[in-house]
């Protein structure tokens, strides 16, 4: 029972982290109708900025805040310099161009920081495990990821659902031309949305940095999961991204945790322990396939266009 609580927390933490990545991606993909493969590069840049700024300032919190700002600025600059010229183009052109950006960022990072990767050490107050219920100790840092991600999700929800900017964003998602015709500066809106998406990716990257190593290409594996999540949740839907991210995080973690034991009931121990990780990573794609068949628009689609 206690193990189940702990594994659920692991799943929740992983899911929330995926949500931060997927939320930014779905904002850009759903609202601007722009396929941005380089979203994972922004996640990587967030982590590199954090490792660098924390080392410079010698303060974890200050370094993280600086890194968040830097990723936001990088996102805005990227949109301004390169991506805004691609909005009118075919999705295939966007895929090609942003794939080029992945290569560019990977080599830029290699040039600036070298190939070996960086580490982002945690401050002492975040390293000790905390007791959440009697008998269950959970790493403080993973707990703080859960708290931060939930806060960001709530904030994002409020901004998108309750503010004027959010209204424009939602309107832009439904009908771009109309909102342009109403005299809204759609270019500026897009730049802001892209910047917000970049900052969310950067936040996911820098929060992941102390758990993983900061390394070249770190965004590529996880980006696939982010795309799976927005397909499951429904393109352009923040709520869908949230629900789907939690689903995927839970399925992945609980699958890895309990599938081997379940399989051991029917298979030999050796076969079960090799088959289980393969099967649990397939479960997510299986879920995506089922969702695509049953509800091609995703589980929680954004308002109709």
């Amino acid at each position: 029972m206690l193990v189940l609580i702990e594994q659920s927390l692991n799943g929740l933490q992983f899911g929330l982290l995926l949500f931060l990545l997927a939320a930014g991606l779905t904002l850009v993909f759903g609202i601007m109708d722009f396929v941005n493969l380089a979203h994972g590069s922004l996640y990587m840049m967030g982590a590199y900025f954090a490792a660098t700024f924390v080392a410079w300032t010698n303060s974890f919190v200050l370094g993280i805040l600086l890194a968040l700002g830097a990723t936001l600025l990088l996102g805005i600059a990227l949109e301004f310099i390169a991506l805004r010229h691609l909005y009118g183009r075919d999705h295939l052109d966007q895929v090609l161009a942003t794939f080029g950006l992945i290569l560019f960022f990977n080599d830029a990072v290699r040039l600036i920081w070298g190939p070996a990767g960086l580490s982002l050490p945690l401050p002492a107050w975040l390293t000790a495990p905390v007791q959440i219920v009697p008998g269950v100790f959970y790493p403080a840092y993973r707990l703080s990821i859960i708290v931060v991600a939930l806060a960001v999700a709530a904030m994002l929800y409020l901004v998108v659902m309750r503010t004027r900017i959010g209204m424009l964003i939602r309107a832009g998602a439904s009908n771009r031309e109309m909102i342009g015709a109403l005299g809204i500066n759609i270019k500026l809106l897009f730049t802001l949305v892209f910047g917000l998406g970049a900052a969310l990716a950067g936040l996911a990257g820098l929060m992941q940095a102390p758990i993983l190593t900061v390394q070249i290409g770190m965004g590529e594996n996880i980006l696939i999961l982010a795309f799976v999540i927005i397909v499951i949740g429904g393109i352009g839907s923040i709520r869908g991204a949230f629900m789907a991210a939690i689903f995927v995080g839970m399925i992945d973690t609980l699958g890895r945790a309990f599938l081997p034991d379940l399989l051991r009931m029917v298979l030999s121990s050796a076969a079960a322990s090799t088959a289980a990780p393969a099967l649990s990573s397939m479960l997510i794609y299986l879920l995506m396939a089922i969702v695509l068949v049953v509800r091609p628009e995703g589980l929680f689609p954004a308002a109709k266009r």
Partner: protein, 391 residues
Amino acid sequence: MKKAFWLAGAAILALAQPASAGDTIKIGFVSTFSGPTAVIGNDMRNSFELALDHLGRKIAGKPVEVIYEDDGQKPDVGKQKTEKLIQSDKVDFIVGYIWSNVLLASLKTAVDAKTFLISANAGPSQLAGELCSPYVFSTSWQNDQTPQAVGTYMNQKGVKSVFLIGPNYAAGKDMLAGVKSTFKGQVVGEEYTVWPSQLDFSAELTKAKNSKAESIFVFYPGAAGVQFLNQYAQAGIKAQIPLYTAFTIDELSLPLQKENALGVPGAQQWVNDLPNAENKKFVEDYRKKYTGLRPTFYGAQSYDAANLINSAVVAVKGDTSKKDEMKAEMEKANFKSVRGPFKYGNNHIPIQNFYLQDVVKDADGQLALKTVATIVKDDQDRFHDKCPMKK
């Protein structure tokens, strides 16, 4: 018309390449030079280049040409690059291979073409057993050997039970099987993770913690090892269950692992401080040539591979068409290995010592690996009986 023009151009270019017959020694080098594990490939290349420097960049009086190819840690890419090196570059030797799955995918190409392949790292059990070949040599080990040494060490320490964690691919399975073959205590759990995409080990660590095992054994090469140690320390398990490793802590990962690596024992056939003249020269010159970097066991194995090739080509006075003679010479292991004692078993896998290594601060105040003791002497892999080549 246009197509014909390009085809003609390509044909001329292909013809214009110098015929390779005999004037240079051509070596193909397949390793990972891009992505997160490129640091390992870099180290192998650095050490190989250093060995060529030490040989005066000539073997048996002939200039050496090395063609480096990047496998991107993918078996299919490794196979393509191997085919390209053998079929269009017509190399005399092919060296490298960090990953067991990449090597296994590429092996048949080399063996069918009767091109000598020297694995400078990967040591899948199949290579030592049923897939052994007269054309394949190793300058590293068979995967199981290092974890077997760790298992032996755990017996010496009186450890009663262990929880095993490793990646779900050829080498991961060999490594965990290796520990199980020598460890006399109880194996309470065994977890495999998706390789190389899974980076978060929270589910596995939670299971290990709750298994009440007395120890954890883990195998994660490259950056994954850094991540594992981070998460192991953050989850507070470090204070409860001691960790034993193979190939998880090395000179490349140590600068990132820092304090997390202190007190985590491992085994290796080569450590930077092994007290033989060849090794001292290798380590010193490496640090001189590549300032700020330290050689690793990956590099030491590549360095040995260059010297093994040198011994074979010198024995036939540069005539690389005399394959049988080169094979006979390589079987003698007629070169000074930086790891000290080195000879070949019937399956062309080294028979060698394995040392206990520990993490300490060295003279420069940096963390470094240190040889503590010899765990096993002249160890031969446990698959050599399955190899059809008998002596």
